[in-house]
């Protein structure tokens, strides 16, 4: 008898769950009726030939023009990053802060590109990092191993790194301009037997607005 009570309790809970919310039937395809069918004429809006000839006679060569007059601003807090004696070996990390502002609140992208490899006048080169487990210019990975040497950058506070690319590659940029500040960490790790010399590399950072 007790079993029936338990079963009835379970049934009651199920019924309560099912009927706890009011049921609303279909009501949502009304707006489909408002959509007009399309045709070829609508797909191809044209300036009339007469109007076009008139514009040409007036010396106009632009058929239409729309300018977004807002200003687009890009700031990098330093244009050179110096490292202490790399020949002693070890890990060296420097931060670079970038900021983008747009009057129109547009999205933006920051593209980076390796212009010149990190090399010395003697021809020695510090190679791009491959991180702990083979990162690439498009895939960032953790770089914590002390046996993994090279140089690269991080845009997630040092959690993952990747090398610079010879082709322009976009940084991951925030969705809104309210988070327009972006920090890049530049890391160099050299072995203790690193050859002496002053190394120089050039990286390009270009900010572009999105429509």
């Amino acid at each position: 008898m007790k079993r029936y009570y338990i079963l009835h309790t379970i049934y009651f809970i199920f019924i309560c769950l099912v009927f706890i919310n009011p049921i609303h039937a279909q009501e949502f395809f009304l707006e489909l009726q408002q959509i007009e069918p399309t045709d070829e004429a609508q797909r191809r809006p044209k300036i009339s030939p007469d109007h076009l000839a008139e514009l040409e006679n007036q010396g106009y060569s632009i058929l239409s023009s729309n300018t977004k007059p807002a200003e687009f601003y890009f700031h990098i807090d330093r244009t050179d990053v110096s490292f202490t004696d790399l020949s002693e070996g070890g890990s060296f990390v420097e931060s670079i802060e970038m900021q983008v502002k747009s009057e129109g609140g547009a999205q933006y992208q920051i593209l980076n590109k390796l212009i010149s490899s990190f090399h010395s006048l003697a021809g020695q080169t510090i190679e791009p990092t491959s991180c702990d487990d083979g990162c690439s210019v498009r895939v960032a990975k953790p770089w914590k191993s002390e046996d993994s040497y090279g140089w690269g950058y991080s845009i997630d506070d040092g959690n993952t790194y990747r090398p610079f690319s010879r082709e322009s590659v976009g940084l991951i940029t925030p969705l809104s301009l309210s988070k327009s500040a972006l920090e890049m960490k530049l890391k160099v790790r050299t072995p203790k037997n690193q050859s002496e010399g002053n190394f120089q590399g050039v990286v390009q950072l270009i900010a572009l607005p999105e429509m």
């Binding site: 809970i13 399309t38 977004k68 969705l175 050039v202 390009q204």
Partner: protein, 329 residues
């Protein structure tokens, strides 16, 4: 005489001390702005278009140059790819500075708070293919690789504006697009009456992805909404506004909304307690009346809550039986 010697030593000490006081060194900064952000231009083959720009230096004095880049989109998140564009081929679109003695890529000095206005002339050859061409006009620092006495990485900054150039002999547009993906992301689904329903637990996050492709020859703006409405249980509906998005020709893009979490996510909404829902995306593409509609259905069911309730009931029942046996024993 002795007093004079002391004064001289003191003076030398002060000078040496000043030399060894650590000074705060400020590295040079790149701070430039350029306007306008973009020019959308439709022009005829064989014509020349002139576009004005203003470049302003609000940072340290810099040696700058102007560079034109050809721009394309390389992934579904709209990531740009740029390659330098040189006007060395008469069959390609030509760029040069209008009303200027100077040339593009020619270095020039800009002082702090200095602004320059310049005009970029674009000549479209007669035989160029009709369609869209996208460029970036970038004011960038000239490559700096001078001798330094420490290991240094030089950062070359650049700020750009976009040119959306549509070449057309008669002003016609070829705008065509489709919704390539519209769905909710869940690992579980059920099929009922030939319809697949994605399944979510109550109050779980429901990620929605909407992707649109531009299969035409001209860019267009995609605008629209996603409306989420219940078909069974629950009440009320949710309308999510899509962020008006420009799609370049031969590219696809995930459309963002006011509820996007990142650039690979159109929206993320919170599931209610229970119900069957239909999400409908309505996207208008371009100036023509090309409107695409896509639907996806999903089920929300309180799996976790049911598990808890059944577990509680079973636990209570087991406890009651145990207590009864203890009493009877």
């Amino acid at each position: 005489m002795v007093r004079f010697k002391y004064m001289r030593y003191t003076f030398f000490m002060v000078v040496l001390g000043l030399l060894f006081i650590p000074r705060v060194v400020h590295a040079s900064q790149f701070s430039f702005s350029q306007s306008p952000q973009s020019h959308e231009v439709m022009a005829q083959p064989g014509k020349t278009v002139i576009l004005p720009y203003t470049l302003t230096n609000v940072g340290d004095p810099s040696v700058m140059e102007l560079q034109i880049y050809a721009l394309s989109v390389k992934d579904s998140q709209g990531s740009y790819e740029i390659i330098p564009h040189y006007s060395d081929n008469l069959e390609k679109i030509q760029f040069y500075l209008s009303n200027s003695q100077h040339t593009l890529q020619e270095p020039f000095f800009m002082n702090t708070s200095e602004a320059i206005t310049y005009e970029i002339a674009i000549h479209i050859p007669e035989n160029v293919r009709e369609g869209d061409y996208y460029f970036a006009v970038v004011g960038q620092t000239e490559q700096n690789e001078g001798f330094v006495d420490t290991s240094t990485v030089f950062l070359q900054g650049g700020v750009g504006s976009i040119i959306y150039l549509s070449v057309s002999s008669d002003g016609s547009l070829n705008q065509a697009g489709n919704i390539t993906q519209f769905g909710v992301q869940s690992n579980h689904s059920i099929i009922w009456k030939n319809t697949e329903y994605r399944v979510f637990d109550s109050f779980a996050d429901i990620p929605i992805v909407l992707s649109v492709v531009n299969s035409g020859m001209n860019y267009f703006q995609a605008i629209g909404t996603i409306s989420v409405r219940p078909t069974l249980f629950e009440s009320g509906s949710l309308v999510i506004d899509l962020v008006p998005t420009h799609l370049l020709s031969d590219s696809s893009k995930i459309i963002l909304s006011t509820k996007s979490l990142n650039k690979s996510n159109t929206a993320t909404i919170r599931a209610p307690l229970i119900g069957v829902f239909t999400a409908q995306a309505v996207v208008a593409m371009g100036t023509s009346a090309n409107t695409q509609i896509s639907n996806v259905s999903y089920v929300v069911f309180p799996f976790t809550y049911i598990l808890y309730v059944v577990g509680t009931v079973l636990f209570t029942a087991t406890g009651m039986v145990f207590v009864k046996r203890m009493r009877s024993g």
